[in-house]
């Protein structure tokens, strides 16, 4: 009898302890990020004070008093990159910066010129998916080679995602989570790859894997600045730094930020660690 009581008591304590520590995690769903609201950079007041002098009456309007006092217009040289102004960029002309290639721009629009009028695939409809096939060569080996050798067929990038094997405790939710992660990984990759300008001639490309971690806000924009994981090497190895900075530019580029990701999965994609690896693109 006594033994039973003791065992029962121990089990109860155990259960209570587990419940105390474990259950809150179960019920803790919507974490509302309460980071201090990013002061939207009021760039405008730099110009206004000069113009406002022309008006006779000194207007109080340029300065909605409380907020900007803390962050005066001169740009904070600090961590947070100035959030890109909303009137973002014109999608169409942007991605092809090299003027000598005339075919870049009009392609998306004027594809349907020939006689067959496929009214379904008319120009207006979603120019975006059409634009994707335009640089097919970029995603293969990027270094030029005049020999017409049989190269091994280039790996299509979309398949580069890692399929992680489910744990031994094959749980439904784990598997589903992995699938979601793979999908998100793919979406993120598709958005960042066009912005990564790889330093083409870098030496020892196979030793240049760069790990960078970012935190994101719910709208897909950066929270804080990207962190290069290997800081020592970033400080000491100039080639590594050059490649790392190219990766950082890819992440900070207004054309690829904010990331467009499903709202509902925010908990999964709010914290991303990138592995930038130029070795495949630059060949042996």
């Amino acid at each position: 009898m006594k033994r039973g009581v003791i065992i029962s008591a121990v089990l109860h304590v155990l259960v209570i302890a587990v419940a105390y520590f474990g259950l809150p995690i179960l019920f803790d769903s919507p974490k509302i990020e309460t980071s201090p609201p990013m002061a939207i950079d009021i760039v405008v007041p730099e110009k206004k004070p000069q113009k406002s002098e022309q008006n006779a009456v000194p207007p109080p309007k340029p300065e909605p008093a409380p907020e900007p006092i803390k962050r005066p217009p001169p740009l904070p040289p600090l961590t947070s990159p100035v959030p890109a102004p909303p009137p973002l960029i014109n999608p169409a002309p942007a991605p092809k910066p090299t003027p000598p290639l005339p075919k870049a721009k009009p392609r998306a629009k004027k594809v349907e010129k020939p006689t067959r009028k496929k009214l379904k695939r008319v120009v207006r409809v979603a120019p975006k998916p059409k634009r994707k096939p335009s640089p097919p060569d970029d995603f293969r080996k990027l270094l030029k080679d005049l020999t017409k050798r049989k190269k091994s067929p280039p790996k299509p990038i979309q398949k580069a995602s890692r399929i992680i094997r489910p744990k031994q405790i094959a749980v439904q939710s784990e598997h589903a989570r992995r699938q979601v992660e793979n999908e998100l990984s793919k979406k993120v990759r598709q958005q960042i790859v066009p912005c990564w300008n790889i330093p083409g001639g870098v030496k020892d490309a196979q030793k240049m894997q760069i790990s960078i971690r970012i935190m994101l806000k719910r709208d897909g924009s950066l929270l804080g600045s990207p962190q290069v994981v290997d800081r020592v090497r970033f400080r000491t190895d100039q080639s590594f730094r050059a490649v790392a900075e190219s990766a950082l530019r890819a992440l900070l580029n207004p054309r690829c930020s904010p990331l467009k990701l499903p709202y509902g999965d925010y908990d999964i994609w709010k914290d991303i660690t990138f592995n930038f690896d130029p070795s495949e693109a630059l060949g042996p």
Binding site: L11, L14, V18, A19, G22, L23, I25, L26, V43, E46, P74, P77, V82, A84, A94, P97, T98, P135, D138, L142, K144, D145, L146, I157, S161, R162, I169, S173, S185, V188, R189, V193, W196, N197, I198, P199, G200, V202, K203, D204, R213, D237, Q238, F240, A242, V243, E245, R249, A250, L252, N253, W269, I272, T273, F274, N275, D277, P278, S279, A281
Partner: protein, 449 residues
Amino acid sequence: MRKKKLKDISRIWQNLFAFSVISLVVWAVPANATLKVDITSGKIEPLPIALPDFFGTSVKSQALGRDITRLVAADLERSGLFRPIDSRAFIQGRGSLRVRPNFPAWRQINSQALVVGSTEMRPNGQLRVEFRLWDVFAGQQLVGLRTDTEPRNWRRVAHIIADAIYKRITGEQGYFDTRVVYVAESGPAKRRVKRLAIMDQDGANHRYLTTGSELVLTPRFSPTAQEITYLEYRAGKPRVYIFNIDTGQREALGDFPGMTFAPRFSPNGKSVIMSMAQNGNSDIFVMDLPTRRVNRLTKHPSIDTSPSFSPDGRRVVFNSDRGGRQQIYVMESDGSNPKRISFGNGRYATPVWSPRGDLIAFTKIAQGAFYIGVMRPNGKGERLLAKGFLVEGPTWSPNGRVLIFFRQPRAGVGGGKPKLYSVDLTGFNERVIKTPAAASDPAWSPPKR
């Protein structure tokens, strides 16, 4: 009996309950906080960079500032790694730029880097030049430098600034403060006049070093000094000379038995490696410059020629037909352990080890055409970068990123005159280098110290 059963049952339920709670908790803990994404491809494009004209306080300093800015932009653009943005696209006005860059305005025109500089004439007559390189996305300064110099050195200042920008962005030494020596050819084909000529890497400050009365060939720069070694024919005999560009002093390396070819400096500048032909056999020798002692490296009945040291001085790459056809071999610097590294179809010649150590450039002749190519020192990763009726004689920039070679079209096409070209090691950005006359046999200097 019943009591015992009840106790057992209740214990079983308790265990079950504990187990289920525990497992719920285990499942509920988030597996790994960070989502992992691999980025293994991208694009290779020149970096868009904005270079507004440097500010100046006086008319003279403004003019110099403008010239300097344009030269920096030209250097960077010619490297193929940067794309200066047309100034008409700039949004931020010069007045406010002088105070501080407005990064959103530069981002809007897709500028990823920004150079802001100023020039000033000092009271002592010197020109002070100052500049900053900004990372536009991060809004941070990357490099800031200032220098005082004679106003007439403005070209060198511009090259040094371009070097600093290049180095900060690519991580590698710049090569803009360098020169190229080559053989200038003129006269009819039967009576060709060949003179040594030298110019800045952008073609400026061109001058001739020899008169053309003697035939000159294969100039090669020392990696450590402003000296070249070259071949000159006197009375039908070739001799190796060392020529100091700055002092104009010239010295013969001695008379060698037989014909001497393709001399090159060692990485420390203290010896010269070359091939000598005697009785139809050609072998590789090294001469120690201070002592003039000659060491023989190859002892093979085949033709061994065109030697080039690795940048650490430990190995030598050369050309040999000991396998039946011209191929590329690598051996230790004492001549031991020669190994063939080229295995493609065709003949290989003029191998040159990159100063960066990771590539060997060569000339290849296959299927009736000439090519300039690169491969790794182990022979893998062969890539052909340029092609022509005749292309030959690759030489590396001091940072091992760019090759200059010469291309000669068929007689009749362009008069059959050779010209100099440069190409990036990625195979892109092939450009012609303007010279006053036909040009061949280029060699690239180290940066001036």
